[in-house]
């Protein structure tokens, strides 16, 4: 076991994958709780597809993937939030249009420039080999920003998530916090996308939150539990993918599915116990 771990960490790309992955998993889980409770999970999905389009553009232009995709995805986050909040347009349909649209544009750009090759598969399903030194530094910066903002605004985020009307009435700038959450989500999606893949990154946002809610009773325990589940699933998934040469993103999602099943069963059992006592 120990020799396996030391062997694994002797590869610099594995170290980078662990660092970036852990940070992304942690932040995604924190933001995910609020997004899931606000019924905004679809925004995450939409953003990751836009991210795929942006990556394709960056590759075609031979530009830095992160520098191109961050502004595009952040812009998309603004836009998707507006769509979800406005009751006039059918929000979910509009998000589908944008995400499939961005995906199609991305595929078109890739096939016209480099051609459909392993790159495309890497974008869609993730690859552990794509992390560079710069990515690690950028991940450290962005995730510290997310963590600090999340802790400082924790009580406001709770209020905005639980009851927008009340929060607004007591003078909380609800729009500001919604935009903040959307932008932070966009940043985390861009960071995690190349490792997890555009099609799978949303799972890091949605799974830990939903899993924790099966069992936890308070907002704080849901948040803490999500963070822990998310990071542990990522570690197990990455290690598994290293040993058995399975795709990294998919391995992590499978871990999350197992955690979800386990928590659901546990939640059902403890519920039944409570009923028996009554």
């Amino acid at each position: 076991m120990l020799s396996l771990i030391s062997e694994m960490f002797s590869y610099p790309f594995m170290v980078r994958a662990f660092v970036v992955g852990t940070l992304v998993a942690l932040c995604a889980a924190l933001l995910g709780v609020s997004l899931v409770l606000k019924r905004y999970s679809m925004i995450g999905d939409g953003l990751s597809h836009v991210g795929f389009g942006a990556l394709a553009v960056a590759t075609a232009l031979n530009a830095s993937p992160l520098l191109v995709s961050i502004p595009i995805v952040v812009l998309a986050a603004f836009f998707l939030l507006r769509i979800s909040e406005s009751s006039k347009i059918k929000g979910d349909a509009a998000i589908s249009i944008i995400s499939t649209g961005a995906l199609a544009v991305g595929v078109m750009i890739v096939s016209l420039t480099t051609g459909m090759n392993t790159d495309v598969s890497n974008y869609l399903f993730g690859s552990i080999l794509t992390m560079s030194e710069d990515d690690v530094i950028l991940s450290l910066i962005i995730s510290s920003v997310v963590l600090i903002l999340f802790i400082l605004f924790y009580h406001r985020i709770f209020a905005v998530t639980f009851d927008e009307s009340f929060a607004r009435a007591t003078g909380v700038n609800v729009e500001l916090y919604n935009v903040l959450i959307a932008i932070l989500t966009a940043l985390i999606i861009v960071l995690g996308m190349r490792m997890m893949g555009a099609l799978l990154i949303t799972s890091l946002i949605v799974f830990p939150a939903v899993t924790s809610m099966r069992v936890c009773k308070s907002f704080r325990t849901v948040i803490l539990n999500s963070a822990i589940i998310s990071v542990i699933c990522l570690w197990i998934g990455v290690t598994f993918s290293y040993i058995y040469a399975t795709p990294t993103g998919a391995s992590i999602v499978i871990c999350n599915i197992l955690a979800f099943i386990f928590y659901s069963a546990f939640g059902k059992i403890s519920e039944a116990k409570v009923k028996m006592q009554k």
Binding site: H155, F162, S165, F166, A169, K217, R220
Partner: protein, 236 residues
Amino acid sequence: MSLIVCKNVSFAYEGVPAVQGINFDLAEGDYLFIVGENGTGKSTLIKGLLKLKKPYEGEIILAADLKANEIGYLPQQTIVQKDFPATVMEVVLSGCLNQLGYKPFYTKKEKNMAVRNLERLGIKSLKKESYRDLSGGQQQRVLLARALCATQKLIILDEPVAGLDPLVTAELYQLIDQINKELGITIIMVSHDLEAALNYASKILHLRNEQLFFGTLEEYRESQIGKIFLKDHVNA
């Protein structure tokens, strides 16, 4: 002294008036019922009082010592809340948010206040329970405790008894009445429940896209509009 004065206020959505000609003033300690059919502008008026929607015409004047963000508000429950994983304490504490200013975290002062209000509403024992596991009546008490944390002067309630059974409804009205009488907090209640209005209100505002009536309960009973409306809606 007047706590709230509305002078010829109207509200519109994209230029189309939703409710107009609202003129009333409330004194400290009043208990106002806003009655009227669905979609006649009650909720719009509430948004206006909370400064969430600008009047299209006229003005709403709050007393100098009443800030808009110090009004306790009990909104209609949303689907999101029904299965929200949060403890009672977490929910009630969020009512203290308007006292934090730029501080990021709650201090002893806010926590004590939350506990005091839980005690006042007889739900201190539920402090650590999860909000989603509570009954409808208990959930409303929690939201009432949160509103009490946010205000010293005025609570606005939007259909607080919707979906509650008669016994729980009566208990909730009792509690709100106590808050009004014992703490001297002014109450504005939007409700369909005319019988409760007859039992508890000190003043009535009747809306049907415009103000049909404003005055004391006794005046309402004597008024033409009151007589018709009460006859139609109260079986007594």
